[in-house]
Subunit: 423 residues, 2 copies
Amino acid sequence: MNGVVLAPGLKGFPHGHAPVAGDEIAVLGWNILDGRFPLPLAVLKRVALEHNLQWMQQFVRDRGIDLAPHGKTTMSPQLFARQLDAGAWGITFATVTQLAVGVAAGARRALIANQVLADDDLAAIQALLKTHAELRIVFLVDSTAQLALIEAWSAVHAGSVPFEVMLEIGVPGGRTGCRTHDDAAALARRLHASAAVKLAGIECYEGLGAKGRSEDDVPYAAALMDRVDAIARLCDAERLFDTDEVLLSAGGSAIFDLVAGRLKPALGRPVRGLLRSGCYVTHDHGNYRRMLAAVQARCGCADSLRPALEVWTHVQSRPEPGLAILACGRRDISFDIEMPIPFARAPRGTLVPQPVPSSWKVTGLNDQHAYLRWDAADEGLAPAVGERIGLGISHPCTTFDKWHWMPIVEDDYRVSDAVTLHF
Amino acid sequence: MNGVVLAPGLKGFPHGHAPVAGDEIAVLGWNILDGRFPLPLAVLKRVALEHNLQWMQQFVRDRGIDLAPHGKTTMSPQLFARQLDAGAWGITFATVTQLAVGVAAGARRALIANQVLADDDLAAIQALLKTHAELRIVFLVDSTAQLALIEAWSAVHAGSVPFEVMLEIGVPGGRTGCRTHDDAAALARRLHASAAVKLAGIECYEGLGAKGRSEDDVPYAAALMDRVDAIARLCDAERLFDTDEVLLSAGGSAIFDLVAGRLKPALGRPVRGLLRSGCYVTHDHGNYRRMLAAVQARCGCADSLRPALEVWTHVQSRPEPGLAILACGRRDISFDIEMPIPFARAPRGTLVPQPVPSSWKVTGLNDQHAYLRWDAADEGLAPAVGERIGLGISHPCTTFDKWHWMPIVEDDYRVSDAVTLHF
């Protein structure tokens, strides 16, 4: 584990235990249900994780494209290494600070799926490129105002190399990116003409508009990718691309199947399609589970991604009928899409979780607490004070960012490895 | 700053800069608007922070009670030290992991405002008490089921000292705590009779029920504190308290004025009232600002708390009229109560922020982005790409937990100190 040392003070690490090197944790014989871990504790399930790494790599391989998974999901050097080992072309980041963590972890092809424009960020990219001769960094541009800031920086930094950029196509009413073909064409010409940047490709992000219903998502994604295709062909025809190979990138983890097939158009020069899915690595029990049901139906796949991230906690109080208070709150688990999803229970003393009644629901979170409720008919199955509860998550990104490390566990919850997280 | 070293890799720290000891940061002459800090960046304003520390300390002093501020808000050793230096009796925590951070930071009187019951947590408390002879730790009990777990642990750990506990009074439909006087009385008798614990006081948390309207909050708080008072008198009359001094504790940062006056009833032994407000230390621009307006009206105070926590970022795109995309997302700022509140702007090159048009609103957050919108009439005042925007927050706890450090700035945004955060 790259010499990383886990130690008390990290949330979830056993109280007062001597520091442990990540690659030595397996030999300790720990199980996350054996009572030694302070709860709550977020855990990664190795078998599901490895399945997801292979499944997504096969998915892009089958479509003749590459994976540049979004590293902002996990910000874990050890997971970046697993993604690269599985065959990922590079890693995507949201900020230059994230990029620096990724480069330190060994990433040598990096996308920043964001507009870079601040002087300190531009300088940091140049410094990284100077330090690592084999490093490639590509970020997004969506306006002449942004380009002007880049040009102004470059004008006073002689000896800097041109920044590699992708032009971003956006959706009206959406987030970043050019809203019209004419704006995008004009910007592409400006980028090609600028000595401060090299136009390396075209980018879009389809994920924000995903509804999870094919009747909506198919035409939405097709229309967006038609626009990407049109601007890519224009840049090709007008010879606006400044690199031998054109990058074409899209991608979240919700409707990636609807864009993957559109990332390899026949242009006058080679095209590398880059899918930037990030959440696929752990998948989830909520939003992405629903999204992947639609992906699987469209692809006719027998199998797809598996949830690999769980948060375990215990009941600290059962103050009234139908209610248990769990030691797990907004600081520990995602809540931006929906509440955590209870899926397993393990009474004190057992290492073998069991399923929970279907009426169990987390109905609210405070900073440090969750409210678990059930139907009156299930009162006889109510969890005991001290009983451990397994919570599924909805949205990996906002669970990862609440932890500094996570153990990797086998399906029987034995700890076999660990990762660190650097948000 | 306790020898803490800030270094690249911490979000918000200048890219590639040499590590800096916290107590040396002031001499560097940095200003958070001088372009050297990667944005977003969360900052603490020294003058407001010191005002709040003094204001709240005076508030409890005037009422003859003490402050045991909730450390979970900031989890900052340097802020704990400032709170203790200002006169706080001790520090409150939500978990044993947090407690260990606080004890390492010098806290010697600690409340855990939660039910402790897991074997590893109980063992860690005993270990801390053994290591620090002058340390006092008091946690909450609200059920005989919890007491049974504590007794079971103590039975097999000869030589452990009795745990000091407060009995928690809860609100029907609320979170933890005994729902009825009879349940509380029965539990108090069990606690007094148990060799595993010492009943040190009575606790409640009024904050979750606060509405911000005096006509609701005054009778709600009075009814809750009447119940606390009744059980305290019963324990006093029946000599159930096991300590010479009785602790009576309540307290969030929303309607603390409605409980503070009730924490010092005349009992047969000395009473120490402990207010556990945590968010007062930085206050905010949203929820607590509204709550304090009501506190101020009730107290007739000319002055109260001041917002001391801001997040600065920049515009990365202005993709269509009425919309700017900011580089600041769910990983950087609170969103559990309401969206961030834009309050200042600083064009590139200036160190002097100006107020923003009142129509500016943040209407949404993604993981790494914010959507800033304005009325069509203000299109001429739209921020430029690259312009810096100051965001106020609503709910300090969920902004603090997204950072590992924060600079402390003077009112002109010169950096004069820094704190680290340990979530």
